[in-house]
Symmetry: C2
């Protein structure tokens, strides 16, 4: 196979559709109360830029700690890469409306058209870009089902870098397609726990047969980044700068609704795992509510098996199992909580992003939890009316919206937006299980 | 699972983007010489409408035999369904240009954003629509790797019908994801040869262990349609009406190039199996060449393992192994030709669509053949520069374009369009094989 040289970062003289936002939106600037800061795990004091410098580049640290600028410019190179799949479609789901016999207007904001099939590349590309700009050649990360690992591998390939991914062992063994996708992009993928890190070796020594966990994989990826020159770490959700990058979703949806002749979104349903898709779609609308007094209602839809907002405590907790990460103020089921092995791997995280947790605590959004059987049944309704097979994560947003409509809560002409964070093509076995043996 | 009621066909009051074509384009109307007609397999006389009525609905027969109307209107319901993924992106491949150090302008016309990941739904939706309009409730078809079967299953679900699919046994057993996709859309999928048809039983009696073939599966699906009330047959390529439906691709590309400030496409590379993607992308440009004297060069890229145009004879041949279909004048390797089991399943067909064959015979397009090793290596270059993993079929178009550019044939500013007929997400194991054990 041809070895592909690193790409230069000079801007392309290429037309970028005007509808792709020029800036990311920073909700901090509009919040009436500030988000409680991350704390240093040793000193328990608010983290400073230098505390993060071992694993993040200066530009991303600046974004992580930026609580004042409402808009942060998207570099032209990032927008050009976005333009390979953005603007992501906003689809008027007319067939679904007829199926539900509703006079509400249902729109699907669909991130499944990205090359890796989810919203994850929106942040992966931005993180790879800034790391590349600041001279780093490799990014380490953890991944569960593999959507984030594949997206970061793609982003690194496009920006002349390499991704090194620790994938939770259970998924590494049961989901070979995502690994192949990472390798196709030139990424390196290890089963976690691995013998590549001290953290991994310690876990293996204690429990050689462990299926692994996201918390373990984070510990390995952070260690690998902190101990090597030119190597940084990248996280796919939870942190402020990740949520920031995802706000292209909601800004686009706002413009697209306007083009479709709708004044505003009345109610938005979004799935909630670590919080990045939810924040990306809804923060621009929450900001508008705060600035302009609009009244878009936001419903976070989480799995009943991992209900961090609806059942968790709002407290300072670690992001990983080893306690290496800063303490984050978040709704959490506790860093040692191990959720049932549900199919929506992307929602199996014990905590919720601090910014989302804060918004929830302040009453700026609601949260509901749905069991997996219901979410797949409703995902199937979308598949058979609109053609799109939603990712297992996305079916939670679908379940939220369909429950709302079926209960009669939606009024005629109400504008409902469902966030479809990705497609379920690589999750078809989960649909097969949900369909059962009769096949229908 | 909820049983989903058939959808009504009343038009939605929904905005359909103006860039989605309003009509399909019929190349017949612009050809200087007429395409040799299909012949009845018994009488050897040109087929008449009534000869096709056992398996096709009146509207599609009219389209199949229409050699005079340049434009055929796309029904609003079909355009509304198209709008769930169309206009499909035309992507300026700036990273790829830099990688190749070329000053040509490379564009990717990318059909992989459709719900089933390829161009196939463009015709599946149209065929399901007209069958539904004419009162049929079930469509039978054959499928190899499964792209067409999944697309027809989706289209039937959206139009309140059922798809019954015979999938070549070797693929049925080795590619479970596509079957699960069909079932998710409510489709029924049989391994072919099956005990459901006389044709299948006869083959099984002779050779119980046969891996099956597309020719066998066609015989089964045609028999099932011809012998049941309310049931018709649908083909995914080769026939005139299928090619017609795909012309949305090329018409969109023409508009998108104009919006990108390009006067016209200079050279187009498209993969060629049965011919539907090639025709869909290029016929509008060939028509423009004929009408307006423009000079867009068309290069059909076929697999070296199944080179119907570059190595076949231009002759009347059957479309299936049992000889049930009309005789079609086409470049063919013979109906009994069994190609090597290459990964590009969609290109493993012994013949080439009569309209494409005629255009080739008339010198309106060129053809080249590429070996699989080369096409995957070049597909990988696209994956690592633009993020899109091309379907194995599409990598042939990529190989054609990259060969052309590397050989120095492309001039500065030349506008090159590569047809990416689909994404390779469900073909990742083929990339895995191409990458080899070193993983890079």
């Amino acid at each position: 196979m041809a070895n592909i040289a690193p790409r230069s970062l000079e801007p392309l003289h290429q037309q970028v559709s005007a509808i792709i936002p020029t800036h990311w939106y920073n909700l901090h600037a509009d919040l009436p109360e500030p988000v409680p800061p991350h704390l240093h795990p040793g000193t328990q004091q608010p983290v400073q830029a230098q505390d993060l410098a071992a694993i993040f580049p200066p530009h991303l640290i600046e974004q992580e700690l930026n609580t004042t600028d409402r808009y942060i410019e998207i570099p032209q190179t990032v927008r050009e890469i976005y333009s390979n799949w953005r603007p992501a479609p906003l689809i008027r789901a007319g067939n679904l409306e007829r199926e539900l016999k509703t006079k509400a207007h249902i729109y699907l904001k669909y991130e499944g058209v990205s090359p890796t099939g989810s919203h994850k590349p929106n942040s992966a590309v931005a993180q790879a870009y800034f790391n590349s700009l600041d001279g780093f050649h490799t990014l380490t990360t953890e991944t569960g089902a593999g959507q984030w690992g594949a997206s970061l591998s793609m982003a690194c390939a496009l920006l002349g870098m390499t991704a090194e991914v620790w994938q939770v062992r259970a998924s590494y063994e049961s989901k070979p397609y995502r690994q192949m996708q990472m390798r196709t992009y030139g990424g390196i993928c290890h089963s976690s726990p691995s013998d590549k890190t001290a953290a991994g070796r310690a876990i293996l020594e204690q429990d050689p047969d462990t299926p692994g966990s996201l918390g373990m994989a984070i510990s390995e990826a952070v260690e690998a980044a902190a101990t090597q020159e030119g190597v940084n770490y990248a996280l796919g959700s939870v942190l402020n700068h990740v949520l920031l990058h995802q706000t292209v979703i909601g800004q686009e949806a706002m413009l697209q609704l306007e083009k479709a002749g709708e004044a505003n979104a009345d109610t938005i349903f979004a799935c909630a795992g670590g919080g990045s898709n939810l924040a990306g779609l809804t923060f621009p609308f929450i900001g508008k509510n705060l600035r302009e007094g609009t009244n878009t209602r936001i419903v976070a839809c989480e799995p009943a098996a991992c209900p961090s907002m609806t059942r968790g405590d709002y407290t300072y907790d670690h992001g990983d199992i080893a306690g290496l990460t800063p303490l984050l103020k978040m709704y959490s089921l506790g860093k040692d909580f191990v959720p049932d092995p549900i199919h929506a791997g992307g929602l199996r995280y014990h905590g919720m992003a601090p910014m989302v947790s804060h918004a929830y605590h302040q009453g700026l959004l609601e949260a509901r939890a749905y069991p997996q059987e219901q979410t797949f049944a409703d995902g199937l309704v979308v598949a058979r009316t609109e053609g799109i097979i939603p990712a297992p994560e996305s079916t939670h947003a679908v379940a939220g919206a369909l429950d709302y409509i079926r209960s009669g809560e939606a009024r005629d002409g109400e504008v409902i937006v469902i966030g479809l964070s990705g497609n379920g093509v690589l999750d078809l076995p989960a649909y097969g299980t949900a369909l059962g043996n009769d096949g229908q």
